[in-house]
Amino acid sequence: MAVLAQKKPTTIFEKLADETWRRKFLRNVLIPWLFIAPLLIIHIFVVAIPAVQGVYMSMTDWGGINPNVNFIGLENYHKLLFEDHSFGKSLNNNINWMLFFLTVPFILALFCATMLSQIKRGGMIYRSILFIPYVLASVVTTTIWKNLLNPKDGILATTARALGIEGFEVAFLGRTDTALISIAFIDNWHFWGFLMILFLASMQSIPPVLYDAAKIDGANRWEEFRHVTLPGIRPIVLFMFMMVAIWSFLAFDYIWLITQGGPGGASEVIATQLYKNAFQRFEAGYAAAQGVVISIFAGFIILVFVMLRRRGWDI
């Protein structure tokens, strides 16, 4: 083949006539795009177009049903950030939610995964059982737990009484000071097993040699965890930190199914407010502005994560 001597094809007809060009075109353009096409079409209609429309909607006074739409610029955002006090309250709840989920499930999961990685018999059974709540639907979990936390002598209250502990006879979901944390508890009951399984799998891929070396150096259990286990599972822990932080701003289903943001807005988060504005108060434009703000938060978290990674934090 006299490839080197050949003039590079320039016009479309020359290109089509040139065999190497045709092969390259197939290999590098046509075939990959054909493979991606079905997914891309779905994605464009299901996510991309609605997202763009959502951003546009956030700059209108649209109600949701009537065909009357006026472009009002950033007015919704102004109202949201400077006039609507309930938004600040919801945001605060989102941040509390995030603080809860960045600590409690991570500690539980790390602790249990460490325990499970040590036992030799029955590990698989424990693991399967602890993972079960994660595959249950939110509708199922909340139905069961709303019953268990029944204000009138729920399981928690009666068990505590039987053990002689007072102060648990509380309508946990009906009081402004306990509603949010109770929902977080229920959501965590469902969620933490997932983290545990991920951490456990990651721990099991740490080479045993490292533990032997630590033992020879006279490390105790804590030092072993601190200097061998934790560095070994760091990538997945940090990745889940990012995901949980993002999910905390999107938190919706458990809160909606249990209290719908009540009582008196005590468990209101941005997403439940958005839902009410869009589907109950028919302020779709305003609701969209809230959605865009959530996306910006999520995008910001991803950005921080990516930057830390670039900085060589080896995330």
Binding site: P32, L39, V46, A51, Q53, G54, L130, A162, A278, A298
Partner: protein, 291 residues
């Protein structure tokens, strides 16, 4: 995980060596109890006549964990009210999602994992990041409007198609396909196989772990889907299990044993799927390049 140990020495273990595992087992058992107790109570209550559901639950005693006057009444009433239809609908929807969604995601994962083309990284990030970032209820309204303009409200298409694209599944496929040795593919290409042929007859047969994991993920997420079906297909004939249960809370709020029977049916399917296949699920998720 045990390192290969030195030849066993005949030596009495110290007491500590027995106590420590016992302590670990006991702690883990506590975790298991916290998971199992609520489910056992719900299961027991679903086999109990409605007026006796709370007999032993408030105040709580161990008898609440076993059915009082065992009866199938709740399940019978539930199915008489058309719950079987919802179960059938959900199965159909979940299986269709696995087949169609699995196809679309696998094709895309193959392109992302095995081809070099301009805009690939940008496209991949845009697809994955956008779905991670954007709250479902922001896009729900415009998506609803879009589906409405297609005339797909209260149709199977409206229920099914928006749930097909799944970022995590694309991720899984891409990762798995990218690690398959090039020689396998080259051999088939030299024999004149098309790329689609390569994917179907060379790659898929050796992709069992990722296929199982992806199917599991898609099946369970569709089985548990709730808000979109509620929004897009409220018609009785198209209702899915989760919607049926959530509506029952409003309509028959006091019939707890039926509500819990419905919840048990909704719960048992993913549990039965995940226990035998858990290994693949974990393997796939931890194998997405995070380790």
């Amino acid at each position: 995980m045990n390192p290969p140990s030195a030849p066993a020495r005949k030596q009495r273990k110290p007491l500590r060596a027995y106590l420590q595992p016992a302590f670990v087992y006991a702690l883990l058992l506590l975790g298991v109890v916290l998971v199992v107790l609520p489910l056992m109570w719900a299961g027991a209550a679903s086999f109990t006549p409605n007026h006796k559901v709370f007999e032993f639950a408030y105040p709580f005693s161990w008898r609440a964990l076993f059915p009082v006057d065992f009866t199938l009444e709740a399940y019978e009433n539930l199915f008489a009210r058309g719950f079987g239809r919802a179960v059938g609908n959900t199965f159909f929807l979940a299986i269709a999602t696995v087949i169609l969604g699995g196809g679309a995601n696998a094709l895309a994962g193959f392109a992302f994992g095995r081809f070099e083309f301009r805009g690939k990284n940008f496209l991949f990030l845009a697809v994955i990041m956008l779905t991670f970032m954007v709250p479902v209820d922001l896009t729900a309204i415009p998506r609803y409007i879009l589906v409405n303009t297609f005339g797909w409200i209260n149709t199977w298409q409206g229920l099914l198609i928006p749930g097909l694209a799944n970022s995590l599944v694309i991720f899984l496929f891409r990762q798995f396909f990218a690690e398959i040795p090039q020689e396998l593919i080259d051999a088939a290409r030299v024999d004149g196989a098309s790329w689609l042929r390569v994917l179907i007859s060379i790659i898929l047969p050796i992709s069992k772990p990722v296929l199982v994991a992806a199917s599991l993920l898609m099946f369970i997420s569709q089985w548990n889907a709730f808000f979109w079906p509620l929004l897009v297909a409220p018609r009785k004939e198209l209702r899915v299990v989760q919607v049926e249960i959530s509506l029952a809370i409003g309509q028959y709020g006091t019939i707890w044993n039926e509500l819990l029977a419905g919840s048990m049916i909704a719960a048992i399917v993913p549990i039965l799927l995940v226990i035998p296949f858990q290994r693949y699920y974990v393997q796939a998720i931890t194998g997405t390049g995070l380790d």
